[in-house]
């Protein structure tokens, strides 16, 4: 596998998974803030569904979106199948419940007095919401990074929705699958090491965040 292909695969992984983590976080964190801050009928059911969704296999999500995006599917006209966009959308749905779950726990654990204190010191409801988010920022960072790690390490969605097209939708994990299938175990191991280095980078970020929190 030439260097350019490897670099491109890494770029596809970072781009699709990074974008998926960003979009999923933008949806998941407000949802978690809502869930953590309010009691309503059916809340437990929502949390139960979310927890169940967390365990959904990547191939099941891949299959679901494959059936939606394939030419004969209801969204076939969008022409998204076997594109990086399709991979990103699939990964968003994969990590959304994970980030909701982690963020919910993080926000739920924020002392309930934080919001009241912000309000009595003159914050509007929105400003008080930001205070709660700020108090949980490191735990929320972990939630987002865990979502990113899950997205970048999955193979089922990338394979089914991206199609592992050379120089287009091939990413690190589909490259590993391909190299393994070809019997090029050494390349597979190298790619696996690259993925681990990226994961290490994520963990270092988390550790740095935690150290920062400990210093406070």
């Amino acid at each position: 596998m030439i260097f350019r292909e490897l670099a491109l695969a890494i770029w596809v992984s970072l781009k699709t998974s990074g974008l998926a983590a960003l979009v999923a976080s933008a949806l998941a964190v407000p949802a978690a803030l809502f869930l953590a801050g309010r009691d309503f009928r059916g809340k437990r059911l929502v949390l139960l569904i979310n927890q169940t969704w967390m365990a959904a296999p990547t191939v099941v999500i891949g299959l679901l979106f494959y059936s939606l995006l394939s030419r004969s599917g209801p969204l076939g006209g969008l022409g998204l199948l076997y594109t990086q966009a399709a991979m990103t959308v699939g990964q968003i749905f994969l990590i959304l419940p994970l980030i909701v779950g982690f963020s919910y726990t993080a926000l739920w654990q924020v002392d309930k007095r934080a919001r009241l204190t912000a309000l009595t010191l003159g914050a509007s409801r929105r400003q008080a919401g930001w205070v709660v988010l700020r108090e949980a920022k490191y735990a929320l960072l972990i939630a987002v990074l865990a979502g990113f790690a899950r997205a970048i390490s999955e193979v089922g969605i990338a394979m089914m929705l991206g199609g592992n097209i050379r120089n287009a939708t091939r990413n690190i994990t589909t490259s590993i699958a391909l190299e393994t299938a070809k019997g090029e175990f050494r390349n597979g191991v190298v790619l696996g090491a690259v993925l681990l280095v990226i994961t290490l980078g994520i963990n270092l970020l988390v550790q740095t965040g935690l150290r920062g929190r400990d210093k406070e």
Binding site: A114, L116, T117, T120, L121, G122, S124, R213, E216
Partner: protein, 354 residues
């Protein structure tokens, strides 16, 4: 200028939780600008709940709550404005992560106080609570008392029109507590700040407040629960009694059954030196003891604690105290009429709604 800082009419507030049967009901309450009002009552009396209403952190389910002549709940902007004028310091205050300065600056930033003005505000507020130079200290690791003082400084830095304090000296030692009382008095006098604070301590309320609101089980009652006793009532048909301690009876008129809580107004208790010829003979509602604490209020009222088989607080004019020759550690007798015993509840105070 409005005649009242607060005006409450026919207020009712019940917690939304289905497991809580507590409700706060007040027919009427007026708090004047610059007034110091003490909320006195046992745990579960509704002091904190009332402070939450006055801080606009909870909205009454019924009735009218006016703040400086207007409806604070008219819209989102008006409630934020009202909250910026009336700041609550809770019993167990929450400090945001970061430094003392971060905490004190929070409300100043929200109010767009110019950055150049903030250091002086921080410095003077911290000086008032005797934490000069603590700006850069991290709030993690502060003791409960220090946290309470930082929270008080955080509120003082905002120079609010109303300062609401939930048991402001509960976590700090007695000497510092007295100095904090002096600070509150000074803030009220010099800045015209209205102060509403809750306390279990009748003496503190008498020392500091212009007016006292006594609460019990979410309702206004006539006087303090300093002399609050519980027990299972026995009766002979004409009068009833409880025995807060075995063999020690508090008698009251009428036929009463079951578990009751009663209070005796400190002003209704007569106090005598034990060797006084006018001292009562042993009998109904006569108790012996020794003076274990004495203090006087600005209104020349002496607050005496007498401990014997039961501990009582007695309020009497200083002149009467001096005339009777009562002093600290002196043996005393005290007496009150059965009619002075008020039954305030069927159960012992002390649940989650403070």
């Amino acid at each position: 200028m409005n005649e009242f800082a607060y005006r409450l009419e026919d207020i009712r507030y019940a917690y939304p939780s289905p497991t809580s049967s507590f409700s706060l009901e007040l027919e009427s309450l007026r708090v004047g600008p610059g007034e110091i009002l003490a909320l006195v009552g046992p745990n579960g009396a509704g002091k904190t709940t009332l402070l939450m209403l006055l801080a606009f952190l909870a909205r009454p389910g019924r009735g009218r709550l006016e703040f400086r002549g207007g409806d604070p709940w008219a819209n989102e902007d008006s409630v934020v404005r009202a909250r910026r004028a009336a700041v609550l310091v809770t019993h167990h205050p929450y400090l945001f992560k970061g430094t003392v300065a971060d905490n004190l600056s929070f409300g100043l930033r929200l109010r767009n106080i110019p950055e150049a003005e903030r250091p002086e505000r921080l410095r003077s507020a911290l000086a008032l609570v005797e934490l000069e130079g603590w700006e850069r200290k991290s709030v993690s690791g502060l003791s409960a008392g220090q946290a309470q003082r930082v929270a008080l400084a955080r509120a003082l830095a905002l120079r609010p029109q109303v300062l609401l304090l939930d048991e402001p000296t509960a976590n700090i030692d007695a000497g510092l507590g007295l100095r904090m009382e002096a600070v509150l008095r000074e803030v009220s006098r010099e800045s015209g700040t209205t102060v509403v604070f809750s306390t279990h301590n009748f003496s503190q309320a008498s020392r500091l407040a212009d007016a006292i609101l006594y609460l019990s089980e979410g309702r206004r009652v006539e006087f303090s629960h300093e002399n609050c006793f519980s027990g299972t009532a026995a009766t002979d048909g004409r009068q009833s009694w409880i025995e807060p301690r075995p063999g020690v009876r508090i008698c009251f008129p009428g036929e009463t059954h079951g578990h009751v809580t009663c209070v005796i107004n400190p002003a209704d208790i007569r106090l005598f030196a034990a060797d006084d010829t006018a001292a009562p003979s042993p009998g109904r509602n006569v108790f012996g003891g020794r003076v274990t604490r004495m203090e006087t209020t600005d209104a020349a009222i002496a607050l005496v604690r007498a401990s014997g088989s039961l501990t009582f607080r007695i309020a009497l004019p200083v002149a009467e105290l001096e005339a009777k020759g009562i002093s600290l550690s002196r043996d005393v007798l005290l007496r009150f009429e059965p009619e002075s015993v008020e039954i305030v509840g069927p159960r012992t105070p002390g649940n989650s709604h403070d």
